[in-house]
């Protein structure tokens, strides 16, 4: 298990796939750990990518700073990993908290990337997300990791995913409970307390950017992704049908396929962002359809309106 050295801390990472291949770097969400990308690693390596996964400071097998940790630390740790990856093209994807770290990295080091994939992501903390974040933090403080999982699971995945595991939910939660320490999770969450909006800096992201948003994402709804689409110059927004916030867990085959197609298009010079809006297929390999002309993609009902 290789580690990077960040100050006195160690960052656990893993590299898979051919050394000379284009690289995909995948950044975890808040309660996640690197193994949750296993299906992506397998799918992307099979499509001739190299895949880098790692545990953020405070997660999984990486060191857990006792108290003081900032978002800057995560961006700096990600930069260390990037330096291990050679000079070839690098695509960076991140989900939720990890998407935010990826955005910040892309703002600061756009020249280092070939493409960016923010998923279930945000550049602002509007009141709903701010209050939800505070409530989740309070839930963690009062009820521990297990209660935080109880709050996040129904928000983040669909009934179709939950129904078959409902009777064995404790088993599903156990690995996340074992690997996440309350204090480390709280430190990660509190690194948001001094969050500054990124919107004005988004135009600095000069690389092709595919923004992925679940159709039913409750935690980071469409409007937050719209901010990314409007302000990142070479971007497109793709809506994942019937998906919630944690669609990377629920729909790995489809999402890995979208990641691979995006990178293949960029490398082949076919990518055209044009701030367009698309609807992803239901299954991997299906057609990515333009959002129907004349309808407002920010609404849940078919309201006719001008494309923003």
């Amino acid at each position: 298990m290789p580690f990077l050295k960040y100050g006195s801390y160690r960052i656990r990472y893993e590299l898979d796939g051919p050394e000379d291949a284009p690289v995909y770097v995948l950044v975890n969400g808040l309660t996640q750990y690197a193994e949750l990308w296993t299906a992506y690693r397998d799918a992307l390596v099979a499509r001739h990518f190299r895949v880098a996964t790692f545990d953020l400071l405070g997660q999984g097998a990486s060191d857990k700073p006792a108290l003081f940790i900032r978002q800057d630390d995560h961006v700096a740790a990600l930069h260390l990993l990037m330096e291990e990856l050679g000079k070839g093209p690098i695509f960076l994807g991140g989900i939720s908290f990890g998407g935010l770290i990826a955005l910040r990295y892309a703002i600061e080091h756009s020249q280092r990337l070939a493409g960016l994939v923010p998923m279930s992501c945000f550049a602002e903390l509007p009141p709903q997300l701010y209050l939800l974040g505070n409530a989740l933090r309070t839930g963690l403080i009062l009820g521990g990791t297990s209660y935080l999982q109880d709050l996040l699971l129904p928000m983040n995945v669909s009934d179709q995913w939950l129904q078959p595991v409902l009777e064995t939910l404790d088993k599903v939660k156990r690995q996340g409970w074992l690997i996440n320490d309350v204090y480390a999770l709280q430190n990660l969450m509190e690194s948001f307390l001094d969050f500054q909006p990124l919107t004005l800096q988004l135009p600095q992201i000069g690389v092709p950017t595919m923004i992925l948003n679940g159709e039913f994402d409750f935690l980071t709804p469409r409007a937050l992704h719209e901010t990314l689409r409007i302000h990142i110059p070479d971007s497109s927004l793709i809506i994942i049908p019937r998906a919630y916030h944690a669609f990377t867990l629920e729909k790995p085959a489809l999402t890995a396929d979208l990641l691979a197609r995006f990178a293949e298009d960029v490398l082949a010079g076919r990518w055209q962002g044009k701030k367009a809006v698309y609807v992803a297929p239901e299954e991997a390999g299906g057609e990515i359809m333009p959002f129907p002309a004349g309808y407002d993609h920010l609404r849940a009902i078919p309201v006719q309106g001008m494309m923003r």
Binding site: F3, S8, Y9, R10, A61, D63, K64, P65, A66, L67, F68, I141, L142, G144, K171, R174, W177, L178, D181, V182, Y183, Q186
Partner: protein, 204 residues
């Protein structure tokens, strides 16, 4: 060597020698915190924050009481020297670099309590098939749960305005206390056949 208690007996209970070692460590750690909170607690509260001190004292006392009653104790010769090393580790050590000695001592107490409440996860040692109706199992779950709540007072103090001018010193002291507590915990467990995952203390 396993990362969990066991092998469990036919009733799903943790072996007595493992119960004894773990309970002895926790009684020592939380008992020391209870004593020091008791010394710090005035008879008449002067400030609002002292209500938390009162809560901390009683929660620590509850943990000790719970363990004394819920554990299946058995003789453990190694405790004769282990307890001495544990108790020595809990002695106050004012945070270096803070000129106000009372603040330096309060910071150290908070750092030690943070390390114990955050770094010790006894319930994470329980295998899936541990008997949920066994009092020792319930006690460990309760201690881990309460530790997560108790931790908040330490976080508030360590990040508070009194200590913020000394953030680097506090950070160093806190990491040292975490390392110390994790090493003691890991060593205590190793003696009864349990190996916990590497923490920040085992750097290459």
């Amino acid at each position: 060597m396993s990362g969990f208690f066991g092998p469990l007996d036919t009733n799903g209970c943790v072996p007595a020698h493992q119960q004894t070692r773990v309970a002895a460590f926790l009684v020592s750690a939380h008992g020391a915190l209870a004593r020091q909170f008791a010394f710090a607690l005035p008879l008449k509260l002067d400030s609002a924050w002292q209500t938390e001190l009162n809560a901390q004292f009683y929660r620590e006392t509850e943990i000790v009481s719970l363990l004394l009653r819920a554990t299946s104790w058995t003789p453990d010769l190694a405790l004769s020297y282990l307890v001495g090393s544990w108790e020595a580790a809990w002695l106050p050590k004012p945070i270096e670099g803070i000129p106000d000695q009372s603040l330096a001592l309060a910071g150290d107490l908070a750092a030690r309590a943070h390390a114990i409440h955050a770094g010790i996860r006894p319930a994470a040692l329980l295998p899936v098939d541990a008997n949920a109706h066994d009092p020792f199992v319930t006690a460990l779950r309760r201690i881990e749960f309460e530790s997560g709540r108790l931790l908040q007072a330490q976080i508030l103090l360590l990040k508070g305005s009194n200590l913020s001018p000394f953030r680097d010193a506090v950070s160093v002291a806190l990491e040292q206390r975490h390392t110390q507590v994790r090493e003691l915990w890991a060593d205590a467990l190793k003696g009864v056949g349990i190996s916990i995952r590497e923490g920040n203390d085992r750097k290459s």
